[in-house]
């Protein structure tokens, strides 16, 4: 029986028919998706913090408005994704609980500090840029609600990337101090951005199964290479450099070669030892705990109103 279901399921996936919440699916598929979608949702929410940091310090009213809109978008992305995950039988509160206890992960990139205004540019350019690279294929992922959420997310991400690049472009045309600020930010964010694509393919145990289920369509290394190729060209427009002495066009491969990623740093940050892991998680926990009385009151009020309505009917 179970085997038949499994066969029908895989057959649907192979024929590019979307899996919907009510369809039968292997338990492992469900668990993989819950893990991946909730991790993605958490990344959007935690990702609000390093940029949110600069809203009150944005250097012009126009930049302030753009940044506010951008960070607000990220909250919206979190919302779509939590909703998509909820269709798999987990509640938002349960997902928060997993985040707050450290059971669920989020993208490690947000554990790095934002030290200057140029970081807003680099985050848009590189971090949202890497996110787009990762997420565009997810618009065709096999699970319907996830794919549809990603279509909405991707539409907004391209604006995020453009505004980031534009911040850097203006800095590149600016004063010497501004150019230094921008180059410094690129130097700090480049390697962590490359880590956003995850471990190397031969050390990424979930990849094969995820590809078979069409949750994933390209491997980590494929996407990372594509990202390097794009950024190596874009950085020339800015007149800045990427901090990698091994970065070189390889005629034969038709790709840029690039240096070795510091995987030790990657795993350290994943394990909680990044520069801002504690701050980020503490900020979320604080918001959650200090918001408890607000949520209780909203619930109590809604119940009261519902009862009054019932009594009146």
């Amino acid at each position: 029986m179970e085997q038949d279901f499994e066969k029908i399921f895989q057959d649907k996936v192979d024929r590019e028919i979307r899996i919907e919440p009510k369809d039968w699916m292997p338990e492992k598929y469900r668990q993989t998706l819950i893990r991946q979608i909730s991790q993605h949702a958490h990344s959007e929410i935690i990702g609000m913090l390093p940029e949110g940091n600069w809203i009150t310090r944005a250097p012009s009213l126009r930049r302030k408005a753009i940044l506010l809109a951008k960070v607000q978008d990220e909250a919206g992305h979190g919302l779509y994704l939590y909703s998509a995950a909820e269709t798999l039988g987990i509640t938002r509160d349960q997902m928060y609980e997993q985040l707050h206890t450290g059971k669920a992960k989020y993208s490690s990139i947000f554990n790095y500090p934002t030290l200057s205004w140029a970081d807003m540019g680099v985050i848009g350019w590189l971090v949202d840029g890497a996110a787009i690279m990762n997420q565009v294929p997810l618009c065709r992922t096999s699970f319907g609600p996830y794919a549809r959420a990603m279509v909405r997310v991707c539409k907004e991400e391209s604006f995020h990337q453009r505004q980031g690049f534009e911040i850097l472009y203006v800095l590149s045309k600016g004063t010497e101090a501004q150019r230094r600020m921008a180059q410094d930010a690129i130097n700090r964010w480049w390697w962590p951005s490359l880590m956003m694509f995850g471990p190397k393919d031969d050390e990424s145990p979930n990849t094969i199964q995820s590809m078979k289920w069409k949750i994933k369509r390209f491997s980590n290394d494929e996407l990372r290479q594509k990202f390097v190729d794009v950024c190596a060209e874009q950085v020339k427009v800015l007149g800045f450099t990427l901090p990698d002495k091994d970065l070189k066009w390889n005629e034969e491969r038709g790709h840029y070669d690039f240096g070795e990623i510091n995987w030790d740093e990657f795993w350290q940050v994943v394990q909680g030892n990044g520069p801002c892991n504690k701050e980020r998680l503490d900020a979320r926990k604080k918001a959650w705990e200090e918001g408890a009385w607000v949520r209780d009151a909203a619930l109590a009020y809604a119940n009261k109103k519902a009862k009054q309505k019932q009594a009146a009917a």
């Binding site: 929410i45 609000m48 913090l49 949110g52 809203i55 009150t56 310090r57 944005a58 250097p59 012009s60 009213l61 126009r62 930049r63 302030k64 408005a65 506010l68 809109a69 960070v71 607000q72 909250a75 919206g76 979190g78 919302l79 939590y82 938002r92 205004w117 911040i167 203006v170 045309k173 600016g174 004063t175 101090a177 501004q178 900020a283 604080k286 918001a287 959650w288 200090e290 918001g291 408890a292 009385w293 607000v294 949520r295 209780d296 009151a297 909203a298 109590a300 009020y301 009261k304």
Partner: protein, 263 residues
């Protein structure tokens, strides 16, 4: 030029109100108690920054037109001509800001934040409705656009006053505490600044309408208006609380640290 000067000061007063309340609300971004509400308050902050921009831009236009006759700053530090929305927001100092004190006091908890917005936006709604009849068509146009947003701010914040006032014991206590803390800053809204000389303005009418609406909502929520309080005032003429200096230090830091730069 008395009229132009008055109109400029009045525009700066409105713009500063919008900027500072926008700043305060934006401090919640990423830290709200409920994700949907985090989005809502960030959106409200964004609305206010947008309003501030419209108002500063118009003030800048008028200042640049009448530059020869107007003293730009009280602190003697030059803002170079032509002025822009950004030089007005980022290069004036505390005593030159004309925002109401109620906009600059700290957020406190969710009760204080939503209550402050309710009391302020209700006032702004009445004020901007009068400005629809302003003789300067551009002021009227800005008012019209702002009213759409402010009406939503009123609705959103009013719902929170009701919800918290009539929610749990704790939320009621916190909302009542917020009222007691903020009430002294409400009176300033109804003191007509000397530069608010436009003929469409009637502050007494604003106060009457505001009183009615606020009283009705408080009654529905079971909240009490403090019997009597002293009125804290001065913001509209540059006499601020100590909080504004910290807001500006943070907000203006890049413009001050890297002068004459494009961003």
């Amino acid at each position: 030029m008395a009229t132009a000067k008055n109109e400029i000061d009045f525009l700066l007063h409105l713009a500063d109100n919008a900027l500072i309340i926008g700043h305060r609300n934006s401090e919640w971004c990423g830290h709200g108690p409920i994700l949907e509400q985090d989005i809502a308050i960030t959106n409200i902050a964004l609305d206010y920054i947008g309003q501030a921009r419209n108002l500063y831009q118009h003030a800048a236009e008028l200042i640049n037109q009448h530059a020869d006759k107007i003293e730009l700053t009280q602190t003697g530090k030059d803002i170079s001509l032509p002025v822009t929305e950004d030089s007005l927001a980022y290069l004036r100092d505390v005593v030159e800001f004309k925002n109401l004190l109620i906009t600059e006091i700290p957020n406190g908890d969710w009760a204080q934040t939503t209550l402050r917005l309710f009391l302020l936006s209700q006032f702004q709604l009445e004020l901007f409705t009068q400005l629809l009849k302003h003789e300067d068509a551009q002021v009227a146009a800005i008012a019209e656009k702002s009213i759409k947003e402010i009406s939503y701010h009123v609705k959103w914040s009013q719902d929170w006053v009701l919800r918290l006032g009539d929610g749990t014991e704790e939320s009621k206590r916190r909302m009542q505490q917020a009222i007691d803390a903020i009430w002294a800053y409400t009176g300033e809204m109804f003191i007509q600044p000397e530069y608010a000389t436009a003929t469409c303005l009637n502050y007494a009418a604003i106060q009457t309408a505001w009183n009615q609406k606020v009283t009705a909502i408080f009654e529905e929520a079971g909240l009490l208006i403090p019997a009597k309080t002293f009125v804290q005032k001065g913001g509209a003429t540059g006499m601020h609380t100590e909080h504004l200096g910290y807001i500006l230090a943070e907000m203006q830091y890049l413009q001050r640290a890297y002068p004459n730069s494009e961003w």
